[in-house]
C-alpha cells in the first residue's frame, strides 16, 4: 500500500514535469516567433503569438491547482515538497514570459507598417537571441536538475542587462536624431525591456533549480547590470542655438 502511494506520487510529479515541459516549449516558440515577427514585420506571425498565450495561461492555472492539491493530499516531505513548490514557481515564470512575448508581438503589429532602419531592430533581435538561449538552457537544466548549468544561466544574465542598457542609450540617440524615429523606437524600447524581463524570469527559474536541488535560497541581491533606469542621454547640440 505504502509502495503504491509512493509510485503514484512519482506519477503525479512526472505529470507535473511533463506539463512544465509543454509550457517551456510554448514559451520558447512564442519568444522566437515574436522576435521574428518584429524583424520581418510579419503581422500574421505576431497574431499567432498573441493567440498562443491562452494555452500557456490555462496550463499555468492547471499546474498550480494540481500542485496545491498534491501538497494537501499527500503531505510530501523534503525533495518531493520542493519539487511541487518548484513546479508552481516555474509555471508562474513561464506564464509571465508568455505575457511578455505576447506584448512584443502586439508591438510588432503596431509598427509593422512603419519604415524602420533595419539596423535598429537588429540590436533588439540580437538581445532576444541571447535570452532565447538562456531560456533554452535553463529549461534543460530544470529537466535534468543540473544545478551547475542553472548557476551558469544565473550569472550570464548580467551581460544581457548590460546589453539592454547600451541598447537603451542607442535607441534614445536615434530618437533625438529624427522625430520620425520616436514612435517605433519607443515600441522597440519596450520590446527590449520585455526581453530583459524575460531574462530576469530565466534567472528566477535558475534560482528555483538551486532551491530544488539544495533546499536553500540564493541571495536576493543578484548583481544587476541594468543601468537603464539610471541612464539619461543628452540631445546633440541644437542646430539653431536661438531656439
Amino acid at each position: 500500500m505504502s509502495n503504491h502511494i509512493v509510485t503514484s506520487y512519482d506519477t503525479d510529479l512526472q505529470n507535473l514535469r511533463r506539463s512544465i515541459a509543454e509550457m517551456g516549449g510554448i514559451a520558447e516558440k512564442m519568444m522566437d516567433e515574436a522576435a521574428t515577427a518584429l524583424v520581418r514585420r510579419d503581422s500574421a506571425l505576431a497574431q499567432a503569438v498573441i493567440a498562443a498565450d491562452q494555452r500557456l495561461d490555462a496550463l499555468q492555472r492547471e499546474i498550480e491547482e494540481r500542485s496545491i492539491l498534491l501538497i494537501a493530499r499527500r503531505q510530501p516531505m523534503a525533495i518531493d515538497l520542493r519539487e511541487t513548490i518548484s513546479a508552481i514557481r516555474v509555471s508562474g515564470d513561464l506564464e509571465r514570459i508568455g505575457d511578455l512575448a505576447k506584448n512584443i508581438a502586439k508591438r510588432a503589429v503596431a509598427i509593422s507598417d512603419q519604415v524602420q532602419p533595419q539596423k535598429i531592430v537588429v540590436g533588439v533581435q540580437h538581445m532576444s537571441e541571447l535570452v532565447q538561449e538562456q531560456l533554452k538552457d535553463v529549461l534543460d537544466a530544470y529537466a535534468t536538475q543540473n544545478v551547475v548549468a542553472a548557476h551558469d544561466v544565473w550569472e550570464r544574465d548580467g551581460s544581457i542587462d548590460a546589453l539592454y542598457t547600451s541598447l537603451f542609450r542607442e535607441l534614445l540617440t536615434y530618437m533625438m536624431e529624427d522625430p520620425r524615429n520616436i514612435s517605433f523606437c519607443t515600441h522597440l524600447l519596450f520590446c527590449a525591456k520585455n526581453v530583459e524581463r524575460i531574462g530576469d524570469h530565466t534567472t528566477n527559474i535558475a534560482e528555483t533549480i538551486h532551491y530544488l536541488a539544495t533546499g536553500e535560497t540564493l541571495p536576493t541581491d543578484r548583481p544587476k547590470n541594468d543601468r537603464s533606469s539610471q541612464t539619461t542621454v543628452e540631445p546633440p547640440a541644437p542646430q539653431n542655438p536661438a531656439a
Copy 2:
C-alpha cells in the same frame, strides 16, 4: 485535541493575514512616496523607497514558505485551503508592486536634475493617484473579504488603462516637439507603464478575492483598455522638408 488544532489553524491564518496587511501597508507607502519623489524631484525620498523594497521581498518569501508548510502539515479543506493559496498569490502581487514602485523611484533619481515641464509629470502623478486608490480599496476588500468591493476595483482598471494610453500619446508628442524632452519623457513613459502594471496587480488581487470567496476563477479575458502597445504617433510636419 481536534478543537485545539482548529484554533491553532485559525491563529496561523490570522498571522498570515497580519503579514499580508504589513506588506500592503509597505507597498502603499512605497507607491505614494515614489510618485511624490518623481514630482518633487526628491532623490532622498526615492532612495528611501528603494531601500524599503527589501522588507517586502523578505515578507513575501516568509508568507510563501509558511503557507506551503501550513498546507502540507494541516491539509486544510475548502475555505481554509483557499485562504492559504490566496495568501501566496496576494503576497506575490504585493512583492511585484514593490518592485515596480522601486523602479519608479530609480527613475525619479535619474531625472531629478533635469529641467522638466511640470505639466508632463502631473499626468503620471494623476494616474498614480488613481492606482493608489485602487490598491487601497483592494487591500480593504481583502481584509474584509468584500467581493463586491473587489469586483468594483476589477472593473475600474479599464479607466486606468485608457488613461495610460492617452498619456503614452501625450508623452510621444512632447518628445517629437523637442529632442531635449526625449530622455526624461522616456523615463516618464516607463514610470507610467509601471503604474499601469501596478493597476494590473490590483486587479489580480481582486480576482484572488473572488476566488477566495466563491472558489471560482474569474474569466482571464478581462476587457482591457490599454491600447498603447498598438499606438503610434506621427511627428508634426518637418520644418525643413529637404532634411
